[in-house]
């Protein structure tokens, strides 16, 4: 595998250099650098959104999720992603209408405008900082443990993590969002091809789909139904995860920025539909990988299982392509998020543009270093770590939806309620407060309470005579 790995790695690095140089030539202003000229076609748009959305979380986390917890993982991600596609069509149109005619720089700035106070922007910044850094760390951690298991002794986990962060920072700082989008497109194509090839190989290994599930039934029948062997996929867990994942398109800045920079509404719709198709193919392909693992490597730890199914059991060229595809996936998802975090900081800055850009680039480097630290220190439960990130950002969903959809400026009570929601959720993560209340999951309870509260608040302010008083 090593020779193929270095050959394909060189090809990948060359394509990154070409993408960065091309993007640098096209960047004429700070807006081009941060917003890619706001003229993204549907194909490139789909590949960049897909690469941002489907990362090591999908290619490493989902097979492991299917292996450990069974077919409920389909409901967990595929049904949620289908609904996310619809949400992009619905929310994307509202967001684009809201930002048209405004100088859109990021959601944090938009929240400041909508609520009429900088506290709204600060709250959004704190929320995404707290919950996106772990998600970025998941990408870096996932690929680092995988590479360490596949090429033992070449670099330690922290060495792989540092190398990935170094590559990512270099080209995103040089080429801006356009370089990231080109890199995303390369990654999206690698990821799709490699996953489908491996999945087909495993189905062929079993002799067919029915035979594959028959083997799984003989091995552990609990994997074929919910809640799965560990009892994870309860209806409550799936509902809370569904809400958290659907709201990714509303709450996470690397997604919202891509909705805004699409060329027009038609491109946005086509992008969303193509994304749905992409999602179904990728998630379908992770099922045989997980089922193969459930039959052959049920008791192995995550890193060993992944190293066997994605590298050891593959022919060298496929194993090398997987490794490069995973590095590409980790890099493209993580840099999109880091860049989006920087963009959000920029949207809160006022004054000299050159100074703002300098501060933004420094912020991106700080975020990258923070993510690197978390990646080195975090555990290996990739999907569950990512889910915490989705749930954390999703708490800000009602706060953002109220700002974009409400005809009157929403009240500061929504900012306070959202801040409280984030605080309670954080406390539950650190087990300061219980994670269930009257047998209801706390994250689900927070989502529902905030949605109801935001609805009541905006309805009250809409009532005649209240808007002027408020």
């Amino acid at each position: 595998m090593s020779i193929w790995f270095f050959v394909l790695g060189a090809v990948y690095l060359c394509s990154l250099v070409v993408a960065t140089v091309k993007a640098r030539r096209q960047n004429r202003s700070s807006n081009d650098f941060m917003m890619a000229g706001k003229n993204l076609g549907f194909l490139l748009g789909c590949l960049t959104v897909a690469a941002t959305l489907f990362s090591t979380f999908t290619l490493l986390g989902m097979p492991d999720f299917f292996r450990r917890h069974g077919i409920g993982a389909w409901i967990f991600l595929a049904v949620s992603d289908a609904a996310l596609v619809f949400c992009i069509i619905w929310f994307g149109a509202h967001l684009r209408r809201y930002v048209s005619g405004r100088d859109f720089r990021g959601i944090a700035g938009l929240m400041t405008d909508a609520y009429g106070t900088r506290w709204a922007g600060y709250l959004y910044l704190v929320g995404i900082f707290l919950f996106l850094i772990p998600y970025v760390a998941v990408q870096i951690r996932g690929i680092s443990i995988f590479m360490n298991a596949v090429i033992p002794g070449f670099l330690p986990v922290w060495g792989w993590a540092s190398l990935i962060v170094g590559i990512m920072l270099t080209y995103s700082e040089l080429g801006g969002l356009k370089a990231i989008i080109y890199a995303d497109a390369i990654q999206g194509l690698i990821l799709l091809t490699v996953t489908v090839v491996i999945a087909c190989g495993f189905v062929a290994h079993f002799g067919g789909v029915a035979e594959m599930f028959e083997s799984v039934r003989a091995s552990n029948a609990a994997l074929l139904s919910t809640p799965g062997p560990g009892g994870l996929f309860t209806a409550q867990f799936l509902v809370a995860s569904f809400i958290a994942i659907v709201l990714v398109s509303i709450t996470q800045p690397q997604m919202t920025i891509r909705l805004v920079i699409m060329r027009d509404l038609k491109s946005l719709h086509r992008m969303a539909l193509l994304l749905g198709l992409f999602a179904m193919i990728i998630i379908l392909a992770t099922i045989p990988i997980g089922m193969y693992g459930a039959v052959r490597y049920a008791d192995l730890p995550t890193s060993d299982f992944l190293a066997r199914v994605l590298a050891t059991d593959q022919v060298p060229i496929i194993a090398a392509a997987v490794a490069i595809g995973l590095i590409a996936a980790a890099i493209s998802t993580a840099d999109s998020q880091l860049f989006a975090l920087g963009n959000e900081v920029r949207s809160m800055l006022v004054g000299d543009e050159q100074r703002n850009m300098r501060h933004t680039k420094i912020a991106i480097i700080c975020f990258a270093l923070g993510s690197l630290t978390v990646a080195i220190l975090s555990g290996d439960q990739l999907v569950l770590l990512a889910r915490v990130s989705f749930a954390g950002t999703a708490i800000m969903g009602p706060f953002i939806i109220a700002a974009i959809l409400a005809p009157q400026p929403p009240g500061t009570e929504i900012i306070i309620a959202t801040g409280l929601g984030l605080l309670i959720f954080l406390c539950s993560l650190f087990q300061i407060v219980p994670d269930t209340v009257f047998s209801i999951r706390l994250d689900l309870l927070i989502f529902l309470s905030l949605f109801i509260f935001a609805f009541l608040s905006t309805s009250y302010r809409r009532a005649p005579g209240v808007a002027s008083a408020g």
Binding site: W74, I75, V79, R97, S225, R263
Partner: protein, 80 residues
Amino acid sequence: MKNRKNMLWRLCCAGVIGLSILCFTPLVIPAGQYQPLLLGLPRSLWAGMLIAFAILALAVAGTFVHPGMNDVNANQDKQP
């Protein structure tokens, strides 16, 4: 025409919400049951696939009747 499109768009939204709710009922995720199989697929998997593809089909339909796409011939965003 515009009202009809609005109504169809709302129907698509209602369909997506309805299917999403249905997905979390015992009809799709009965505890501990994997039968009946369909083409060898366990129950929750094939039912979940049907729901996911149905939601995507509604998304496709939604792009045709989306209020923002009224009279769109050019590449201009319209108010949804």
